[in-house]
Symmetry: C2
Subunit: 212 residues, 2 copies
Amino acid sequence: MPALPGGFLNHAGEEILDAAHRELSEETALVAGCVHLEQLATYGGAGRDPRGRVVSVAHLAIAPGLPEPVAGTDAVDAAWVPADAVLSGEVELAFDHRRIVTDGIERARTKLEFSALATAFCGELFTIAELQQVYEAVWGTELDTRNFYRKVQAVKGFIVPAGPGRRTTGGRPARLYRAGPKSVLSPPLIRPVPSRTEEDTGTEEDTREEGD
Amino acid sequence: MPALPGGFLNHAGEEILDAAHRELSEETALVAGCVHLEQLATYGGAGRDPRGRVVSVAHLAIAPGLPEPVAGTDAVDAAWVPADAVLSGEVELAFDHRRIVTDGIERARTKLEFSALATAFCGELFTIAELQQVYEAVWGTELDTRNFYRKVQAVKGFIVPAGPGRRTTGGRPARLYRAGPKSVLSPPLIRPVPSRTEEDTGTEEDTREEGD
DNA sequence: CCAAAAGTGTTATGAATACACCCATGC
DNA sequence: GCATGGGTGTATTCATAACACTTTTGG
């Protein structure tokens, strides 16, 4: 049964974030500098791992492209799995890793609204249409191209034009942008209504009557 | 120099959240059930604590009232400190605890917008004016009483009327409410931003700097 | 009656949307 | 020319902020 990549802190008083980067680069080709990595949450307690008490500090990694996993210490069978396959249960993960993935996806969806995280999915240069595809993929929604175009440009410091280069994909060539200096978006890009995921007791009572 | 309360996981494979509740109740009169407690982040690495490597899973606690701290294991000098005093540096904390407090306050301010966390600051029954005071205190802003009144009631499942009881404070008695079933607010209560139209620094990267 | 706080109605303003329209390229 | 996708203008719709106003209590 597949599991998330991970490992232990080394003995040199290593920073947690550094350790996460190290473990990630050991099992994929993703090295620090090309990948956004942030702490997600810490999972502990008995029963997580039958081998004994393990406290895991889960991290969320975002990067453009999908480099093939490299056979590392214990990653001979490493593979990429679509997020939907984990959410739906089609792919079953070991331990409590399905919960960790669920938390991570929710974190990504929320951060897309209020931070510049989306640019971490793109290469250094990208078009606005590519950025929109990130939002549509992560949110699972469709957005109006024209409105997205202006909305994204209205957020000062989110993206900045990158020289005179263009990228052509069959129609009119698109301007290129790179990530701007701001990491917190104001105003935020609000995701369309499909009711935020409930946390715990959130019972969505949709008492909407249809008149006829 | 004061520090945040805390302690170690016990040896029985205790859940992290349970351990946080246990430590909190050992040093204050706040017991589980009356207090909202959620994981904030994990801080680790060398240099945090001169006594050696310590990995701390910080938690954020929200509760109504301020029970006097009880002299517990090592809390003989326990005291409440205003959040502003820590933010401003007027009160200095040991280790990297000032950073933890800063992160926790930011978490509380953000969660107030999108979750029903504010009700955790109130008793079981509260008036809308009391709820508004929570928002004003945590956000450090002033809100229009009349608009807050309707805005809060427009969020389905946030608060529900609690019988015919009233609470009087010198003027017309106020209706009483209790927390509703929803824990995620839609639409959210957006916090007024100081400068949404002006450009500012905003280079808030995720670099978590370790003090000492 | 008066002061104080709760609760309601109403309007102006600004933002989000929907969509018509123009621009630039490959074939 | 024409298909395709990039980019712009604009009207309608809707949420919000501001504030005048009414209601209900205590003294």
